[in-house]
C-alpha cells in the first residue's frame, strides 16, 4: 500500500482563544501539485510550519511519508525539500560554498541542476549570497532544491519579494522539474495567477478551519460570478438586506451563494451553482426579477479566488 | 536522547543551585561571626572571653556601650563584664590602655609588672590550619634571607630556592636561571649533616620585616629535622635533636627580640613543641583535643603563662601552662594547670540558619575555614529529617497538584515529584522553568 506523502488527521490548533483549525483532515496524493490558498490570517503559514515539522499542533497528527511531521526521521527528511519564506538560506556562504555544504548530506545530489540555474545569474562562484538581491537568492535556493531532487516539496510563499521575471523563471524551472509527475508539491503564494501555470489542486482554507479541496480546472470552470445591477434592486429593505449580506465574511452567505460583494452600481454574487439557483435565493430575499438581470462575468483565477474568499 | 538530556540538565542544575543558592542566602541573610577571643585572666585566675553574638542578650546589652550590644564579655563561669572591666582583667593584653588609665604597674600572682616587663614577655605564635602543607598550595620557591647582612635591616635575597628530589636548587632573580654553584653549596651543607632528599617540609618566616633572620627548618625524607642559615653567603646547617618517635609535620618560625623561643614544631601525632632559640631544644606542651587539620592554634605568651588556644568552626579550647623556664629539660612536656572549652556563639543557631537548614536539603561548598585549597563537598542539612525533608515533601505534594492542573501526572511528572522530594528547591526551580510537561 502506497503511503500518501502528506496526511493531516483531525488537526486542531489555536492561538489563545482564536481557533485556527478544528478537526482538519487532508490527504495529499503523490505526484500532484497543491496550492494552499486563503486570506491572511486563516492559518496557511501555520499549516505549512506544521507540515514542515517546526510547529507542534495542539491536537491531531500530521504525517510525512508516514512519519509524524515533528518527529520525522533523517531518511524521510532527505525526501523532503523545504523552501522557507523569503528564500532563507545561509547568507554567509558563497554560491559554490552553499552547494558544497548541502551536497554532503544528500547522496542523490545533482550538482548540474544547481549550476544550470545558478549560472544564469552570471555571477562568479565565490559571490556571496548576502550580496545578492531577493530574486537572485531565490534562484540559488531553487537550484539547491532541484539538486536535492526531493519527492516532496513544501514551498512557503515562494513568490515573496520576487518581481514578475524571477517569479516566471522560478515557476518555469519548477514546472520543468515536476513534469515527470514523480513529485508532490505543496505551496503557498499570494500571486494567484501563477497557480494556473502548474498547480493541479487547490486547497482553500477559511477562517475557523473550513477547508475545500478541488481541482484547479474544476474550480475555474464550476465557480461563477453573477452581476446584479443595483438599479434592479427595488426597495430599501431589499437593498439593506443585500448590503448586510455583503458585509458578512464569505462562506455560505445564502443557500447557493458563497459570497456577495457590494459595489457602487452593482452586486456581485459568487457561486458553484447555476444562475437559476442563485435567482431562487434572491427571490427568497424578496427580489422580483426575470433571469436576464443577472449577467455572468468571466473571471480569471485571481478573481475567482477573491470571489471565493472575499475581499475582507 | 531527550531523556538523557533532561537527566543531564537536572543533575547539573541541582548541583549548581546547591552551590549557588546557599551561598547567596548566606551573603544576604547570615551575619558572619568571627571566632571567640578567649584568654586566661591572671587577675581572675580563670578564662575570660569576648565574642559577637547573633540575636539579643539582655545581660550583655546591660553591660554594653549602647550600639555594641552584640558584643559579649564573659568569663568561664558565666559572669558578664563591661569592656573596661574586661580589659582590666587582661592587663598583659591591654597594658597600653592600662597605662593610659594609670593602672600600671599591675600585680598578679604576687608579682608586679610594668610596661617594659610585659612587652618583653608578650608574644603570640599562631598556627592556622590553612598554613599546613596539606591545606594550601605548595609554594613555588622560597627566599633564604641572609642572616648577617652587615646592616640593621634585612635584605631580600637576589635568589630563591626550591626543593627537588636531588637537593636545593637556587634560582637567581636577575637572570631567572639556576645558580648551580649556590645550589651545590647548600645541598652539600645539608647532606653532610645527614639530610636525605626529598624534603618533606620547609618551615620559616619568609619576610624581611622582622628584627633578625633566625634561619629555616627542613624535614627530610626520613623525618629528621635540620636548621639551615645563610651567613655571609655561606650555609650553616645543624641537625636538631628530636624525641624518640617524634616526626615533625610543620615548623613555625617567628623571630622575636627576646630570643628565647624561635617558634614551634607540630609533630605527626598532633603534639606541639616549643623551639628554644639558643640550643634548638624542643619543649613539649600537652595539648589534648587539638586536631591540627580542623583547628587554628594560638600560643599567647605573657610574663607568667603561656596559653594555648585552639578552635575549630564551632568549639574553642584553652589550656594554660606555666611559662617554661629558660633551662627547661629538652623534650620535657609541660602539663596545663587550667583548661576550659566552650561552644562559640557562631555555632548557635538563629532563625536565619534554621530557615536555611529547612529549605536547603543539602549544600555544596568549595571552601572551608580550615584549608585554602578548594574541595567540592556535599553536606546534608543539619536538620534534614526534622525540617528539610518535610519541606521537600511539601514542595513535592504542591508540585503534584500543580501538574494535575495542567494534565494528569505522567511518568515524567512522577520522576519530577520524586526529584523534588529528594532535592527540594534545587529540583523545583529547573522543573518549573523548563516546563517539560506542557
Amino acid at each position: 500500500m502506497t503511503v500518501n506523502p502528506v496526511s493531516v488527521e483531525h488537526l486542531f490548533h489555536s492561538y489563545g482563544p482564536k481557533i485556527i483549525y478544528q478537526d482538519l483532515s487532508l490527504e495529499f496524493e503523490p505526484g500532484k501539485i497543491y496550492g494552499l490558498l486563503g486570506k491572511n490570517g486563516v492559518g496557511k503559514t501555520t499549516l505549512i510550519k506544521i507540515l514542515m515539522g517546526f510547529l507542534k499542533p495542539k491536537a491531531g497528527f500530521c504525517r510525512i511519508f508516514g512519519d509524524l511531521a515533528n518527529a520525522i526521521s533523517p531518511a524521510t527528511r532527505a525526501r523532503v525539500g523545504l523552501l522557507f519564506e523569503r528564500h532563507l538560506t545561509y547568507n554567509f556562504f558563497s554560491i559554490a560554498q552553499v552547494e558544497r555544504f548541502m551536497a554532503r548530506f544528500y547522496p542523490k545530489w545533482k550538482r548540474e541542476r544547481y549550476y544550470e540555474l545558478v549560472d544564469l545569474l552570471g555571477l562568479p562562484s565565490n559571490h556571496k549570497i548576502s550580496w545578492m538581491s531577493e530574486g537572485q537568492r531565490s534562484q540559488v535556493v531553487l537550484g539547491l532544491i532541484l539538486a536535492q531532487d526531493p519527492e516532496l516539496l513544501i514551498l512557503d510563499d515562494y513568490s515573496m519579494g520576487l518581481d514578475a521575471g524571477y517569479r516566471r523563471l522560478f515557476v518555469d524551472y519548477l514546472r520543468e522539474h515536476l513534469k515527470d509527475g514523480q513529485h508532490t508539491v505543496i505551496l503557498t503564494s499570494h500571486v494567484i495567477q501563477d497557480m494556473n501555470r502548474f498547480v493541479d489542486d487547490v486547497v482553500f482554507l477559511r477562517r475557523g478551519g473550513e477547508v475545500t479541496v478541488t481541482g484547479l480546472e474544476a474550480f475555474s470552470s464550476n465557480f461563477h460570478c453573477f452581476r446584479l445591477p443595483r438599479d434592479m434592486v427595488k426597495g430599501e429593505v431589499l437593498q439593506s438586506k443585500l448590503a448586510k449580506l455583503a458585509c458578512q465574511s464569505a462562506g455560505r452567505t445564502l443557500e447557493h451563494i458563497i459570497n456577495l460583494e457590494e459595489h457602487a452600481s452593482y452586486f456581485e454574487l459568487f457561486t458553484f451553482n447555476t444562475k437559476e439557483e442563485v435567482l431562487r435565493d434572491l427571490e427568497g430575499l424578496g427580489l422580483k426579477a426575470s433571469p436576464p438581470i443577472l449577467t455572468e462575468v468571466a473571471m480569471d483565477l485571481e478573481d475567482a479566488f477573491v470571489g471565493y474568499t472575499g475581499r475582507h | 536522547m531527550r531523556k538523557v538530556a533532561y537527566a543531564a540538565l537536572m543533575l547539573f542544575s541541582i548541583l549548581v543551585l546547591s552551590l549557588a543558592l546557599p551561598a547567596a542566602y548566606d551573603l544576604i541573610f547570615i551575619k558572619p561571626i568571627q571566632k571567640t577571643n578567649l584568654f586566661f585572666s591572671p587577675v581572675l585566675k580563670k578564662c575570660i572571653f569576648t565574642e559577637q553574638i547573633r540575636g539579643f542578650d539582655a545581660k550583655a546589652a546591660a553591660k554594653s556601650e549602647g550600639h555594641h550590644a552584640d558584643i559579649v564579655y564573659k568569663d568561664e563561669s558565666g559572669e558578664y563584664y563591661d569592656r573596661l572591666a574586661f580589659e582590666a582583667y587582661l592587663p598583659f593584653i591591654y597594658y597600653r590602655n592600662m597605662e593610659l588609665r594609670g593602672l600600671l604597674p599591675v600585680t598578679a600572682y604576687g608579682q608586679s609588672f610594668d610596661r617594659k616587663t610585659i612587652e618583653k614577655h608578650r608574644r603570640v605564635l599562631e598556627l592556622k590550619a590553612t598554613s599546613l602543607d596539606s591545606h594550601r598550595p605548595k609554594p613555588s620557591c622560597l627566599p633564604l634571607i641572609e642572616a648577617d647582612p652587615g646592616q640593621v635591616a634585612l635584605l631580600y635575597p637576589d635568589d630563591r630556592f626550591q626543593s627537588t628530589t636531588k637537593g636545593l636548587q637556587f634560582i637567581n632573580a636577575d637572570f631567572n636561571a639556576p645558580d648551580e654553584k649556590l645550589s651545590k653549596l647548600f645541598t652539600l651543607a645539608l647532606t653532610n649533616q645527614g639530610f636525605v632528599f626529598p624534603c618533606k617540609h620547609i618551615g620559616g618566616n619568609f619576610t624581611n620585616f622582622k628584627p633578625y633572620e633566625g634561619g629555616i627548618f627542613l624535614v627530610d625524607a626520613k623525618g629528621q629535622l635540620f636548621h639551615l642559615m645563610r651567613q655571609k653567603g655561606e650555609p650553616f646547617c645543624t641537625k636538631v635533636a628530636l624525641p624518640k618517635g617524634v616526626v615533625p609535620r610543620h615548623v613555625l618560625v617567628s623571630e622575636a627580640r627576646e630570643r628565647q623561643w624561635l617558634g614551634l614544631v607540630l609533630d605527626t601525632q598532633d603534639r606541639i613543641w616549643l623551639l628554644r632559640q639558643h640550643d634548638l631544644a624542643l619543649i613539649g606542651l600537652e595539648t589534648t583535643r587539638y586536631r591540627p587539620n580542623e583547628m587554628d592554634f594560638k600560643l599567647i605568651f605573657n610574663p607568667l603563662f603561656v596559653t594555648a588556644i585552639f578552635s575549630d568552626a564551632k568549639k574553642i579550647y584553652a589550656q594554660v601552662f606555666k611559662l617554661p623556664v629558660k633551662d627547661a629539660v629538652p623534650f620535657s612536656i609541660a602539663q596545663p594547670f587550667h583548661s576550659f572549652s566552650m561552644s562559640m556563639s557562631r555555632s548557635q543557631e538563629c532563625w536565619q540558619t534554621m530557615v536555611a537548614a529547612s529549605i536547603f536539603p543539602f549544600v555544596t561548598t568549595l571552601q572551608a575555614e580550615n584549608t585554602s585549597l578548594l574541595t567540592a563537598r556535599i553536606t546534608s542539612s543539619s536538620h534534614y529529617f526534622s525540617l528539610s525533608l518535610p519541606i521537600c515533601l511539601l514542595l513535592a505534594i504542591g508540585y503534584f497538584f500543580y501538574s494535575r492542573r495542567k494534565k494528569s501526572p505522567n511518568r515524567l511528572a512522577w520522576t519530577q515529584i520524586g526529584l523534588i522530594a529528594f532535592c527540594g528547591i534545587y529540583a523545583l526551580i529547573p522543573i518549573l522553568l523548563l516546563d517539560e510537561n506542557s
Binding site: 515539522g53 510547529l55 | 540538565l9
Partner: protein, 226 residues
Amino acid sequence: MFNVLAAIFSKEYVKTRTSMLILFALGISLAAVIYFDLNRLFMLDHPEIVWYHTLDLKQIPYGIFKYLPMLSATVFCFCQFLPEMRDERLRISLHLPCPLGLLLLAHIVYGLIFLMALMIAESGAILIILGRKYPLAYLPEAFWTMLPWCLAGIYAYLCCAWVLLEPKKKTKVLGLILGVCICTPLFQHYTPGAFSTAYLPFILGIPLLTVSLFLPALHFRTREVE
C-alpha cells in the same frame, strides 16, 4: 557521522572565521599588553622585589586576563548562533537529513574546540611570558589560577547557547540563572593555585551541560506555541 561533522564544521568556519580572527587578535593583543606590563614591572623594581610581590604577596601580574575568556566565549556564541536565530535560519540545518543530536553536537563541539584552542593559546602565551621572568616552579600556580577563568568561558559559551537556542522565555531564564550560578564561584578570589584540588567537578559539568543543550534545540525544532 564524519561527513556531518566535516560539513557542519566547514559551515561554522565560514560563518565565524572573521570573529575567530578578531578574538584571536584580541587574545594576542592582551598577551602583548601583559608582556609589556611585565617588562615594565621588572624595569621599575629589582627582580627579587617583583618576585616577592608575586610569589609571597600573591599579586597577579596577568590579572587583566581574568574576564577575557568569558567575554570571548560570549561574543563567539553570539557570532555563531545569532545568525541562526535571525529569521530562524537554524531550520535550514535542522531539516538536514541527520540526527538532531549529532547536528547539535557538531555545532557545539565546533565552538568548544575553537574556544579551548583560543584559551590554550592565550594562557599558553601568558605562561611563556611569565616563564621568561619568573621561576618555572611558579608556572603551575599561574596555570591553576587561570584555569577557573577559562572554565568560566566554556560555561558562558554553553549557557549563552542555551539562551539563544531556547524559544521559551522562562526556559531562557534558566540558562541565564545557571550561567550566573556556575560562573560566579569561578571568578571569586582564591589563593593562587587553590583550584588544583577542585577542577574535576567543574570539568565534569561541561559534558553534562553540553548534552543538556539537546533540549533547547528540540524545543526550537518542535514548538508548541509561537
